[in-house]
Amino acid sequence: MAKPELLSGTLDLLVLQVLNGGPLHGFAIAERIHALSKDVLIVEEGSLYPSLYRMEEKGWIDPEWGQSDKGRRAKFYSLTKEGRKQLTAERQTWDRIALAIGDVLKNA
């Protein structure tokens, strides 16, 4: 089976959702998404970091340097208030789209 690619625009949603559980560094974000999708979704680093920097600029996430569990210096991202608002909005949009696509597939 071909490696499923993330729909464009859904990466931000997934990252925001994963960060909703608490601050994580980049690698952990990718791992968490991978694990939560039962190893189906693979987050490409080449899109993850640009996405993180973009959301940082928009003020949705806030980076902070800290210690990872293995004692390494790592940059942890956490959701801001705007990020939480954005997450809610994007979830609603996603739910509507998923429902709509489902309807089309079922009824066509």
Binding site: F27, E45, G46, Y49, Y53, W65, R72, A74, K75, E82
Partner: protein
């Protein structure tokens, strides 16, 4: 709050470029190390694990480049490069550049001078209190529009008696005269003949002596002069 964050982000990108790049380097480096650890845990040899991690990551430089562009730093760097190039080219063609600069300087200088004059003479109100309310009344020949004519003295008096529009109407006429007396050389002078109320209308009292009075306007009255 949002704006402050944005500005901080940009300024950070501009002035702390070194730190920003170093931090990004650290972050991506750590990612690769963690991936390597994970590969080793999955049973790869350390070397193999490292290469696999690098391969998975893809083009690190591209990510960095993209992030730098996002920081809106790129356009500043490009601008500086363009500026340096411009200065070099100006220097390389210095005689041509000098000619262009002189031409521009002359053009701008002459325009500024002319405008300053025109502005002072035509557009700005007279530099006295209420100067913007002072107008000139002129006659116009309807068959030759655009040609303005002066008002005759009888018309002026007629206008003044029927005036309800203006605070006051006074007449003036500029002339050139030659002043001479027995002991001095004749001199050419600019004079104005004005109706008696002119200076009280303009609210400019004479510094010495008296202003014109209504009596001075009567036929046969003695000549009265105010020196400016």
């Amino acid at each position: 709050m949002k704006l402050v964050r944005k500005i901080r982000f940009w300024l950070g990108g501009l002035f702390c470029r070194g730190r920003f790049n170093a931090e990004m380097e650290d972050e991506l480096q750590m990612h690769i190390e963690l991936r390597t650890d994970k590969n080793i845990a999955a049973g790869m040899s350390p070397q193999e694990a490292h290469y696999a991690a690098l391969r998975d990551f893809g083009r690190v430089d591209q990510v960095k480049e993209q992030a730098r562009d996002q920081r809106n730093v790129a356009w500043v760097e490009h601008l500086l490069r363009d500026l340096r190039f411009a200065v070099r080219m100006i220097w390389a063609h210095r005689w041509f550049s000098a000619a262009v600069i002189v031409t521009l300087a002359l053009g701008i200088g002459i325009n500024t001078t002319v405008f300053t004059l025109v502005n002072a003479v035509l557009f700005k109100p007279l530099p006295i209190p209420g100067g913007e309310r002072i107008v000139t009344i002129a006659g116009q020949n309807l068959k030759k529009p655009g040609d303005s004519t002066r008002i005759s003295y009888p018309d002026f008096r007629e206008f003044r008696t029927q005036n309800r529009t203006f605070e006051g109407i006074e007449s003036a006429r500029l002339e050139r005269v030659v002043l001479s007396d027995r002991y001095n050389l004749p001199e050419r002078r600019e004079v104005g003949r004005v109706s008696a109320g002119m200076f009280s209308l303009l609210r400019i009292p004479p510094m010495l002596g008296r202003d014109f009075t209504v009596a001075d306007d009567r036929p046969g009255a003695e000549d009265v002069v105010l020196l400016g």
